[in-house]
Symmetry: C2
Subunit: 615 residues, 2 copies
């Protein structure tokens, strides 16, 4: 078995052989699967052969080694190439390579972290580079680490604005550990890209973002080698725009239309044209010794508030986050240029080194969080709840990446008042519940928000906290504990006729309504459903058994929120207790919070009216 060590001088012929093996194996993997993207792999084979043999520093036997470089396939559909690189590096064998896309194989259609050498799932284009910015930020700003982040990008995905958020952020942050290798193969899924092989517009934009920029022939081994050397010495993030041919090396598909995302028609002939099957093996450089870095945790008292005080849960978020930053040295925070509204600024003031201002670029914010957590950091990312919808695809993919990502959305619902509907999150519970294995929390007071944020810190996975703009009464003592999946029954008695279920601002309305109903002789149970996912089904079913009817109240659209969550619990248990769901059903405008809650039919008066009909 031929071995190439990266200490060798450039040997064009030897490196070409490695690239041919990558092409052959990409063709074979796709042929075995009868699907996949061999032509998108072949275009980048030379680029990846040189990288693997001469530049990447990675111990495939120890993917947990913190000194390893990172290699992110932003063009995740080139997975046959990535998996062929694993074979070339000796990390997997040929037999496993040919399980590509089989049910149960870790070599899925697009890479996921089920593979130990993959940091994050890609396959939704335009995400790998922004996520890499997060990885690079960890290296530069938090760890003073020497690793480099190599990112293979497609040219089609440069149409995604998120890629340009990444170029800008990396430039401003001076991330000289980042090398974007753009495989400009001119052809997208259905035809030519906007710029085809004219890389001038792309290069000029990257340069304007402060990147070192090179435009090269992506099949010229020496040019590739020289480009990597220059990139590493650039002192700024480096982008290499490499003009390539899709399907390169096989005449039947090379630079041909309609060859995207399908196996080659005649894979055997292609393998022969490429010089046959090889079993070369590259000895990939090991990384240098990892640098150590230290951030100390400190015992700091948990923020707490007096019952009866008025405190917005968004303010409690800020206080709690600053506190968590002290007690847990892994906690980092990101915000989308609204830190004085989400109160992430309180973390920033206390822990400036671990705060990342992401400006108004929510996709880049979430992506950076995903990148940071690949290195063990615990990212909390905040913006207005409405604007997190901008990053929904990134949250979706983060769940596929099995990422540990904590989100906070402030200014939810009509109760924000005069700013109007563009600023109101009314779909956040629905959209974030519909994320694999997510947790959705909606604290109803400040002390609870603190406890729940700590629970989010401890919970591995995607979690979301919904905070309220308005200052609301502190209801709970500071030492009361709250758990993910819990609820709190605030008013309860044997003569309860009806149950009111709310969270956040609507819990306040439920409590007021319960008081009014008591005055009318109707005893109402009140449940604080602060954990919307997972939900405390027991508390709901107990109430359904013990009272005549349930009323859910939410500052959210009727779909996918608290009401449907409760409906699901009831229906699954075949409970016949009537349920009335109060939610926002009309298009809201501007106005005082009270007027908007009333207009939406989710204020205390509306609850009283609904309850009276049921009791």
């Amino acid at each position: 078995m031929a071995q190439v060590t990266s200490a060798d001088p450039v040997d064009r012929e030897q490196l070409h052989e490695l690239a041919q093996q990558l092409r052959v194996d990409s063709v074979r993997a796709a042929a075995a699967a009868n699907s996949g993207h061999p032509t998108s792999s072949m275009s980048a084979a030379d680029l990846m052969a040189v990288l693997l043999a001469r530049y990447l520093r990675y111990d495939f036997s120890a993917p947990e080694n913190r000194a390893n470089d990172h290699l992110v396939f932003s063009k995740g559909h080139a997975s046959p190439l990535l998996y062929s690189m694993y074979k070339l590096a000796g990390a997997i064998d040929d037999e496993e390579l040919l399980t590509f896309r089989e049910f149960g194989s870790r070599l899925q259609g697009h890479p996921t972290p089920e593979i130990p050498w993959v940091d994050v799932a890609t396959g939704s284009l335009g995400q790998g580079l922004p996520i890499s910015v997060g990885i690079a930020l960890a290296g530069k700003r938090l760890e003073s680490a020497d690793f480099r982040v190599w990112v293979l990008c497609g040219d089609s995905e440069l149409a995604e604005g998120s890629m340009w958020e990444a170029f800008e952020h990396a430039g401003v942050a001076g991330l000289d550990n980042t090398i974007a290798i753009v495989d400009v193969n001119r052809l997208g899924q259905r035809g030519p890209t906007m710029h085809e092989w004219d890389t001038s517009s792309l290069a000029a934009r990257a340069a304007a973002c402060g990147w070192d920029v090179q435009e090269i022939d992506g099949h010229d081994i020496e040019a590739i080698d020289a480009a990597y050397a220059q990139a590493l010495a650039a002192g700024v993030p480096a982008a290499i725009f490499a003009r390539t041919k899709k399907g390169s090396g096989v005449a039947a598909v090379e630079d041909q239309p309609n060859q995207h995302g399908k196996p080659l028609a005649d894979p055997d002939a292609a393998v022969e044209e490429l010089g046959g099957i090889r079993s070369l093996r590259v000895e990939v450089q090991s990384p240098p010794q990892a640098q150590s870095y230290e951030i100390a945790a400190a015992a700091v008292e948990r923020p707490h508030y007096e019952v009866g005080e008025k405190v917005a849960t968004r303010a409690a978020y800020g206080d709690a986050l600053a506190w968590l930053g002290s007690v847990d040295e892994k906690v980092v925070a990101l915000d989308g240029e609204v830190g004085n509204s989400t109160y992430a600024e309180r973390f920033a003031a206390k822990h400036p080194d671990r705060f990342f201002e992401m400006y108004i670029a929510e996709q880049q914010m979430v992506a950076a969080g995903v990148g940071l957590q690949t290195r063990g950091w615990k990212p909390f990312a905040s913006s207005f709840g409405a604007f997190l919808s901008r990053a929904y695809d990134f949250v979706r993919m983060a769940a596929i990446s099995n990422a540990d990502l904590k989100l906070c959305g402030s200014h939810v619902g009509v109760s924000i008042g005069p700013d109007g509907p563009s600023q109101m999150a009314l779909e956040d519970i629905a959209s974030l519940r519909a994320v694999f294995d997510s947790v959705v929390l909606y604290p109803s007071d400040a002390n609870q928000a603190v406890q729940l944020l700590d629970a989010m810190r401890e919970h591995y996975g995607i979690s979301y906290m919904r905070t309220t703009r308005e200052a609301t009464l502190v209801l709970y003592e500071a030492d009361e504990s709250f758990e993910i999946g819990g609820s709190r029954t605030l008013r309860s008695g044997e003569s309860d006729e009806i149950t009111l279920i709310g969270a956040g601002i609507t819990l306040r309305e439920c409590l007021t309504a319960a008081d009014e109903l008591a005055g009318k002789g109707i005893a109402a149970r009140v449940i604080d459903l602060y954990s919307v996912k997972p939900v405390d089904a027991d508390a709901i079913l107990t109430a359904a058994g013990e009272t005549k009817a349930l009323v859910t109240v939410e500052d959210h659209w009727p779909e996918g929120g608290i009401g449907e969550t409760v409906a699901g619990v009831l229906a699954e248990a075949a409970a016949s207790t009537p349920l009335v769901r109060l939610a926002v059903t009309g298009r809201p405008g501007s106005g005082p919070p009270e007027a908007l809650l009333s207009a939406a039919g989710i204020d205390a008066a509306s609850i009283v009216s609904a309850a009276q009909k049921l009791a």
Copy 2:
């Protein structure tokens, strides 16, 4: 009352007076509301005064005039400035101006089309320019119209990648009717922007996208006037980066930190400093006569398929869209560079003039659709369902805009098979149901898909069709009609013990399961719930009354989909019929569709097993 007509030569003093009035009125409106963004308005007052007095062609008495220019406030929070312009143009009076942000006033915190001179809602930053690209495309590519699209952008929002999608698209499409006026006031909500007054990076990037670019002093009346003149003559889209001072004109707030989004502390002093209240009036130029254009509809036969054929609903989407393009001359289509997968390519082949290739830029795609519909076009935008999640904030805002927007997401669910989870839409029903007044359709066969797409064409509002990758059996005759809000009961009898509810790929599984159950002596009703929102509650409640239990089956996460929709119907009616909800609960991988449906527990065998336990 002083009048300024735009035929006047530049009169610096007169235009300055107009700008001062805009500042004064912005301060007054925010003071009356005790909230709002006066300082973000004051920075752009000179820019807007010159525009209104000398360049904008707009008949405020006839906003429906198709020859009017468009003015889009991409920085929607500068609404006090926009509303002050309306007063200056005589469109509203001072009394109405001071209703800013009041409950019931059309002058909301951020502009919405409740105001007749506003095309689209803004306030989620980074959307106005991409939407304007759609408006401009209508003018250039469809209507050969002379109107211009003026877009006031903020500098903070240039951090959003969507803005750069717009720069690129406008450049490539040569939209010389588009003028972006960037108010570079250096200060965002919580502090300085990334580039502050250094406009070089922004300008270089816009230039690289093919725009004419100017960097000017945004308070220099002559410079502004010259810049607009150059922009109109540029022959390409034009961007004017205008360096301004936030809060300009009032020393207490001018270029000061912590002055974002709040009324001035001393509005009376500010008004005095600005020279007092004015009642100037500008005679805005009328537009030239509108050009007429013609696209003829033609009677073309509706596509139809034979019962028993195997046709993917995504293919039916393509056929139906091509047909609708023939019979309705207002139908236009956009696709995110996957037209050979969504089959939008069939429309493109038939109606190339009305097809817009938006490349892999889903935000720009949806935004362009929103822009196109402002001029009466009926846009159908398609991509993989998973990738529409990229544009979720744009869909959310489109609903606030009361837009007529038709979306199609293909390749939904685990049934796409080997491509793996990054390509599987499993949250699209939940997220798109949670859009104000939306319609969510999920056809189960090709003939139904055709009928439902026609229903979407006729329906004004946000509607979404979910299509399936796999070819499935044609179940319905071509002349059977289907409606939004309907369902179809496919198997039904008096001895039905159980009801199976599915749609799309899972309806196929339900039918197979019903056959198997029949063999085991269990009669099962089968409901095709093709309209998920609005839902046919009657059919569900009838089944709940006539059978012992319901089973919902969906290729989607359990949250916010078909199961919760049905649960909501049952709970609201206090029905005690047991409901079992089969949905995708684990993180899927790659594999053949059948294996993935089985692993997710949503195939026929799983349905049979669930039904047997209930019957």
